[in-house]
């Protein structure tokens, strides 16, 4: 879907590439551009292969840019990306996108690696006292959970659809939202995940009385 034909891009040397869970990685390189929390960049191997877009997960002023991604079997880039090592070069586009709004008391709802733009906002101190609802399939995918537990306390809500214990809400974020007694229809809701997750979550919020104008979503395209 994407091509490089209207993107400015540059080669970046990978400074760190860590596997943090089964099939999930954080790739880092030096930050030599400015960006707004919530923006995306295109990553690619070369100009012949279309870039894939990833949300930046690190803080606006951090020295390194972190990209949180999940390994995928399809496409040309996704299967190749985990093979890259520290010191390898990768094509990186300029940051773009406008999923950059924030407000105090916002509610972030993320699925899987959809937590990335919200991590960037939280690390960049954008907006006070956000609530983060993170949905995953297994506990190992609660990325950054130690930091988030400390930072957000009770405002960090973990939903796990296939967890065998009661440490988390058992079920998807939509199931959580359906029974959430603290759902405040006046707050701003920011969603990030697959199309299905975003559409389902938006439907639940609207059915609970949240005006659609208060819902802003980023979809994995």
């Amino acid at each position: 879907m994407k091509s490089w034909n209207d993107l400015q891009y540059a080669k970046q040397r990978i400074l760190s590439h860590r596997q943090i869970a089964n099939g999930a990685y954080i790739l880092s390189f030096k930050r030599n551009f400015g960006f707004k929390a919530g923006q995306v960049i295109g990553l690619g191997i070369n100009k012949e292969i279309a870039p894939r877009l990833y949300s930046i997960a690190s803080a606006e002023k951090a020295d390194m840019v972190d990209i949180l991604y999940a390994e995928k079997s399809g496409g040309e880039l996704s299967p190749a990306l985990p093979l890259f090592r520290e010191g390898d070069e990768i094509l990186v586009s300029e940051p773009f996108g406008t999923f950059t709004q924030y407000s105090d008391d916002a509610v972030y709802v993320a699925a899987g690696t959809g937590i990335a733009p919200f991590m960037s906002r939280i690390l960049s101190e954008k907006g006070n006292t956000p609530t983060l609802i993170h949905g995953v399939s297994y506990p190992e995918y609660f990325y950054y959970s130690d930091f988030l537990t400390e930072k957000l306390g009770r405002n960090y809500i973990q939903c796990c659809s296939r967890c065998p214990n009661d440490d988390y809400f058992q079920g998807r974020v939509t199931s959580f939202l359906k029974q959430w007694k603290n759902l405040d229809t006046t707050k701003k809701y920011y969603l990030c995940g697959s199309a299905e997750m975003v559409v389902d979550t938006r439907d639940v919020l609207i059915s609970h009385g949240v005006p659609f104008a208060n819902i802003n979503a980023e979809i994995y395209f």
């Binding site: 091509s3 209207d6 659609f212 395209f221």
Partner: protein, 343 residues
């Protein structure tokens, strides 16, 4: 294992195929003739191919045409065809006859990943891309195919999220070796996937339609998440780099939502956004979908909106609503079938 289909291959792909089978290169053109200009159902009917060629092809390939699984006919002549894809999913095509034309609205994907608030297809999630053959099949496999004058890529899916297959399908539809339609009879609609739109504008002469729906950034973001990635202002700015003063057209689709995007404020901002651009705005009545917070604007409001835009010098039309008695909103029929399949 199911043999791969020939239908949907471009002349270049057919040429590679026949050369790999040690058949003469001209056989590719002959096959394309049979596939895209004639009415056959089996490789054996390609009677100007040698017996050896037909046997070789039949051993490895099938024609690959798929007849519609269902059809819903409206009192106004509109028909909705439901097709089963190779992956056993469902897509829709709408046949819309008119006095002097017959338009076919085709799908490019099963489901969609764009998540627009007003769209039924988006509620299915994304299930896959259609191949070029599956796109062209929606034309070739309906009884009215030889009378179709216009094609619009406005069915299920975002065409520019499946650009390679959409471009291949356009090549088949418009090439002399294919179905030889004029590109001026084909419109591809996008929500504004800018990089793919640029590629399309540089590789195809077909018309472009852009789903606009509101000129305001925050409002469009709530209606269409793509606004977070490719804001409409940037999309329009890009379109200004291309020439639409000749036969090629760009239009902007604008579904009218009551109290949301139908005010004088919207007229003013639309006028600013589209100023000095050779384009048309096409106002569309909203076909309600279940549980939607959106309601369609009244006919009076739509007429007033058209008149206001026209008075500002923007060529504005109102699309006639068709097929309202057969679940006209795109995605309703296939969603119903999908739910039946899951039972």
């Amino acid at each position: 294992m199911i043999k791969p289909p020939l239908f949907g291959l471009t002349l270049l792909q057919l040429t590679e195929l026949v050369l790999a089978e040690d058949l003469p290169k001209f056989t590719a053109k002959q096959i394309a003739d049979w596939l895209y200009k004639k009415d056959i159902e089996s490789i054996d009917q390609m009677t100007n191919l040698s017996l050896d060629a037909r046997r070789k092809l039949s051993d490895k390939y099938r024609i690959g045409l798929v007849k519609p699984k269902k059809v819903a006919a409206s009192a106004d002549g509109t028909k909705k065809y439901l097709f089963t894809t190779e992956s056993l999913k469902f897509v829709e095509a709408a046949y819309i006859p008119d006095a002097d034309r017959a338009t076919l609205c085709v799908s490019s994907q099963v489901g969609c990943k764009m998540g627009c608030l007003f769209c039924m297809t988006g509620k299915q999630g994304f299930q896959g891309n259609l191949s070029a053959g599956e796109i062209v099949n929606q034309l070739r496999s309906i009884p009215e195919w030889q009378g179709i004058t216009n094609i619009v890529y406005m069915g299920m899916g975002e065409p520019f999220d499946n650009l390679d297959n959409v471009l291949a399908s356009l090549e088949i539809l418009t090439s002399d070796w294919g179905m030889a339609m004029s590109p001026r009879r084909i419109t591809v609609s996008t929500i504004g996937v800018k990089p793919a739109m640029i590629t399309f504008l540089e590789h195809s002469q077909c018309h472009l339609a852009v789903s606009l729906h509101t000129p305001f950034d925050d409002e469009r973001r709530a209606l269409m998440p793509i606004q977070n990635v490719y804001p409409i202002q940037e999309v329009v700015d890009e379109i200004r780099n291309y020439d639409f003063s000749g036969q090629r057209r760009v239009s902007f689709e604008y579904i009218m939502f009551d109290g949301v995007n139908d005010t004088p404020r919207h007229v003013k901002e639309l006028t600013r956004l589209l100023s000095n651009l050779n384009c048309r705005v096409n106002l569309i009545r909203f076909h309600p979908i279940p549980d939607s917070p959106l309601r369609g604007s009244s006919d009076d409001k739509i007429l007033a909106f058209r008149d206001a835009l026209t008075s500002k010098g923007i060529f504005t039309t109102i699309r006639a609503s068709r097929g309202e008695d057969i679940q006209a909103a795109c995605g309703l029929l296939s969603t119903k079938e999908l739910l039946n399949q899951k039972k």
